[in-house]
């Protein structure tokens, strides 16, 4: 496990560095956005510009900026937002819980439905139901998230009016009780989470189905059948249990996908998560915010990876042995 953690730390450093370099490779710079000739408060003044650059440290050599950035990342000081003039750390802690709520619930739901549905389809491989589900999954997993979200928004938000159209909770509301607050948050969560679930579900389903079909063809499944075990035991205890291994291995990648999906969905539903923060920060070339957001996303994805790895060593005795060595 130690070697694995070391490799994660190295990965983290690479991510940190890329995270520093990539925004700076984008055309334009933060001050150009601020000093937009189209904007009303446009003042082109070399002195003002120089003062601003000095204030945000953009005039220093790249290597020095990198050093400061690394130091900040380690100590948790992520700097000030250029656009909003707020500490990046505070911005992040305000937005992160919403994103975690959205991606977590979508990922959980998609996994549950994907596992059960995929297992059932694999068990009846070749049947009409299997072929239908597989076809639908291929379509939904390739449909743009934006499109899925719009459809849900139009049908359940606008037409039927069952769910609110936007936001993470009702603005300016005061709740008398925790259940009331929860109900409000859940109500706002349903459509975005459903959208994300739908966009993840196709892949989850296909992953489970195809892996389980392969496992059903393994020798040990034939032996299990020859042993006269009941179908339920064959399906769940042997086939699905083994399918969990590739499934969990893919879960980390799914977490990354979920967060990417969240960027679009949060914009569409004006959901107050990190997605919107990124969207706006990239538009404004707001380096510290971009860096902070991506850093956090990277940490979340890496943690998900580490967790999936750990979970797999618990699930697969063959890996457990390698790790203890």
């Amino acid at each position: 496990m130690r070697a694995r953690i070391t490799s994660y730390l190295v990965t983290l450093w690479v991510v940190l560095t890329l995270n520093f370099l990539l925004p700076r490779l984008l055309p334009g710079d933060p001050l150009a956005a601020l000093l937009d000739p189209q904007s009303s408060d446009y003042v082109f003044d070399a002195e003002v510009r120089a003062a601003l650059e000095a204030c945000y440290g953009l005039d220093r050599p790249l290597l020095v900026q990198y050093g400061a950035y690394l130091r900040g990342a380690v100590t948790g000081d992520l700097g000030q937002s250029i656009r909003l003039n707020e500490p990046v750390g505070e911005l992040l802690t305000g937005h992160l819980p919403w994103t975690l709520l959205l991606t977590g619930s979508a990922l959980g739901l998609a996994s549950l439905v994907g596992l059960l549905g995929g297992a059932e389809a694999a068990w009846r491989r070749g049947s009409a139901a299997d072929r239908l589900l597989t076809a639908v999954s291929v379509v939904t997993s390739n449909a743009p998230v934006y499109f899925l979200g719009m459809m849900l928004l139009i049908v359940f938000g606008a037409e039927l009016g069952w769910f609110p159209l936007a936001g993470g909770r009702t603005p300016f509301s005061h709740y008398d009780s925790i259940p009331a607050a929860t109900a409000d948050v859940v109500k706002h969560l349903v459509l975005p989470a459903l959208t994300l679930t739908l966009s993840l579900l196709g892949i989850q389903f296909l992953l489970v189905r195809n892996n389980m079909v392969a496992i059903l063809g393994e020798d040990f499944m034939l032996v299990a059948r020859a042993k006269g075990l009941k179908p339920a035991r064959l399906k769940w205890r042997h086939a699905l249990r083994n399918t969990l291994l590739p499934f969990v291995a893919h879960l980390a990648a799914q977490a990354g996908l979920a967060i990417t999906g969240a960027v679009f969905i949060e914009t569409l539903f004006q959901y107050p998560g990190m997605g919107r923060l990124i969207f706006e920060a990239v538009g404004a070339r707001d380096y510290p915010v971009i860096q902070g957001v991506f850093l956090l996303v990277a940490i979340v994805v890496l943690t998900a990876n580490l967790l999936a790895d750990w979970l797999n060593t618990r699930l697969d005795p063959r890996l457990a042995e390698e790790v203890s060595r």
């Binding site: 393994e218 020798d219 040990f220 034939l222 032996v223 299990a224 059948r225 020859a226 042993k227 006269g228 075990l229 009941k230 179908p231 035991r233 042997h238 249990r241 083994n242 291994l245 699930l315 697969d316 005795p317 063959r318 042995e321």
Partner: protein, 586 residues
């Protein structure tokens, strides 16, 4: 006779070919009409090459094939199983018929401990609580030679042999009435192979279950089962007692299989049966073995031979089994040496047979009468008494023309090629001579035959070599030319008299291997006359030992070399330095 415990009648297993493979609908006929009965407590071995359908039979007995692919009849104590629904099969599986599968390496679920997997069917079928099932699994494991630590291990932590044992323990867990064991010894070293076979024998004795052993190893099969059924391309070709089938195989395929199988006791070089196993989705017409059979006749291509009883066993062959190519009975020959009436008896009452496609070595010291016997067998000499029958014709009854025609069927390669071949003839002329004598075909046809024969013995077939004269050739080349000359008429049998005695050791091995290769490719009979037991045992199926004009010992090469019965054979073996230790070991 009481009703057998297990009765299989006309069992078929056909797999639908993958629809993805554009060629379409040719079904794989893995099992094509197999019948056998097994009484309680009996053991049957099903033997055949890879792909012959052995495993498919085993799986059919557990109803594991996709619905619709199995038909015929399988009756277990009177209960018809074919056509049962999955739910009807389930209580039978493992409880009444269990199978130790072929691929024990991948037969265990990788995420559960071995002990748990052995206990699983006991919980399922016998309703045992977990702790009792675990205790029983422990007892079973000890019985097959595993320890408690093996039960706690995960499958990937066991060796191949341990998994095979665990598989056996698992198969025995519900005390089935019928146990199928599929290739229990594949991939094992000699020692664990012997131990496993021992174990199977013990299990039989202790439990009295009905055993079906599936194997490609005839010898292993015969150690465990009293009856052997030989399977070829989904059909049974020979069924008999293990002893009979092993010691005197009667079907040409069984015979080939036995010769092809590596035998630990001889250093014999192996060559499989010529050709290769048929494509199960498009089996040959008639007898499925005919493309590889050395004795096939037209009927074999046209009609399927039924499995019928011949001499106490079942054989599927139009000719009733392996044919005798050459049979000699009580041959005698004496020479009056110098006109003074002094008589030397060279051959005194020799009887022998050579079967279709067989290599027989005739071994003996100088002057034991080997060459004389060889010449008698091909009709170059007339016997004083006794008969030589070749392909059903008594040589003594042939007239001159028939005798000439006989040369096309049986050829003689003389001891010393320098002696037998005129040194001034060219290679082409030497090899062509038999064709000229027989007035075979046109001149270009003869030239082609000559080239083919030369190629078959690994010589160049181009003009510069064809024009070389015999005296310009090396010993090895000349010996090959002599063999090519014998081959040029496509004979059914060759008698080769000391074909390599003039060559150095490495050439000897090469030429002897060449002879064997040509023989098995063309499906000829070969009688190899030699004084060198160490050399011929590498290629011979059977060895006859000759001394002072008599055959003093004969038998399968492996037996003669490892357990010689006659003291003279012993002496010959001792004289062959490379063999000394093998004999000492026995």
């Amino acid at each position: 006779m009481t009703e057998p415990l297990l009765s299989v009648q006309d069992l078929h297993v056909h797999f639908l070919a993958e629809p993805a493979d554009g060629r379409g609908a040719g079904a794989v006929r893995a099992v094509d009409g197999v019948s056998f009965d097994l009484a309680a407590g009996q053991a049957l071995a099903i033997v055949g090459e890879t792909g012959s359908g052995k495993t498919s039979i085993g799986r059919a007995l557990l109803g594991l094939h996709p619905p619709g692919s199995t038909w015929g009849s399988i009756r277990l104590a009177g209960l018809e199983l074919v056509g049962s629904a999955e739910a009807e099969w389930r209580p039978l599986r493992w409880r009444r018929i269990a199978m130790a599968v072929q691929s024990a390496g991948t037969a265990f679920d990788p995420v559960y401990r071995i002990g748990e997997q052995i206990a699983e069917p006991m919980r399922e079928h016998l309703g045992l609580p977990a702790d009792e099932a675990a205790t029983r699994a422990g007892a079973l494991a000890r019985r097959v030679g595993l320890e408690a630590r093996h039960l706690r291990a995960y499958p990937h932590q066991l060796s191949g042999g341990e998994k095979q044992r665990a598989m056996l323990a698992m198969a025995l867990s519900c005390e089935p009435e019928v146990l199928i064991v599929d290739e229990p010894t594949s991939g094992q070293d000699v020692l664990s192979r012997a131990q496993l076979l021992d174990l199977l024998r013990q299990v039989r004795v202790e439990t009295g279950l009905c055993l079906i052993l599936i194997s490609h190893d005839l010898a292993a099969a015969a150690q465990v089962a009293e009856r052997v059924a030989v399977l070829y391309a989904g059909k049974l070709v020979e069924v008999g007692t293990a002893r009979e089938v092993l010691e005197q195989p009667r079907h040409p395929y069984t015979w080939g299989l036995l010769n092809a199988y590596p035998n630990m006791t001889t250093a014999r070089d192996l060559r499989g049966i010529r050709g290769h196993s048929p494509d199960p989705s498009d089996p040959p017409s008639g007898c499925r073995f005919h493309p590889r059979c050395t004795q096939a006749v037209d009927l074999c291509r046209q009609a399927k031979p039924p499995l019928v009883e011949i001499g106490g066993r079942l054989i599927a062959c139009h000719l009733g089994g392996l044919q005798t190519l050459l049979q000699a009975s009580d041959l005698r020959k004496a020479f009056s040496s110098n006109g003074k009436g002094e008589v030397v008896t060279a051959v005194r009452g020799v009887s022998l047979e050579v079967y279709e496609g067989e290599v027989v070595a005739l071994v003996g010291e100088t002057g034991s009468g080997k060459t004389t016997l060889g010449r008698l067998l091909v009709g170059l000499l007339d016997a004083d008494s006794g008969h030589v029958v070749f392909e059903g014709q008594d040589l003594a009854a042939l007239n001159g023309r028939e005798r000439k025609a006989l040369r096309r069927r049986i050829q003689f390669v003389a001891q010393d090629p320098f002696d037998a071949i005129s040194p001034r003839l060219t290679v082409a002329a030497i090899v062509r001579e038999p064709l000229d004598v027989q007035r075979f075909g046109s001149v270009p046809e003869r030239a082609k035959k000559v080239r083919d024969a030369l190629r078959a013995v690994g010589l160049p077939a181009e003009p510069p070599f064809l024009e070389r004269r015999a005296h310009e050739l090396s010993g090895g080349q000349l010996q090959r030319v002599a063999i090519a000359r014998a081959l040029v008429l496509d004979p059914k049998m060759i008698v080769a008299d000391e074909p390599v005695s003039m060559l150095d050791a490495s050439e000897q091995a090469k030429v002897i291997n060449l002879l064997k290769e040509v023989q098995s490719e063309r499906g000829m009979g070969l009688l190899l006359v030699s004084h060198d037991l160490a050399l011929v045992r590498k290629v011979a199926d059977r060895i006859l030992v000759m001394r002072q004009g008599q055959v003093v010992e004969g038998g399968p090469a492996s037996r003669v070399v490892t357990r010689p019965q006659h003291e003279y054979t012993h002496a010959l073996l001792q004289a062959a330095p490379a063999l000394g230790w093998e004999v000492g070991q026995v």
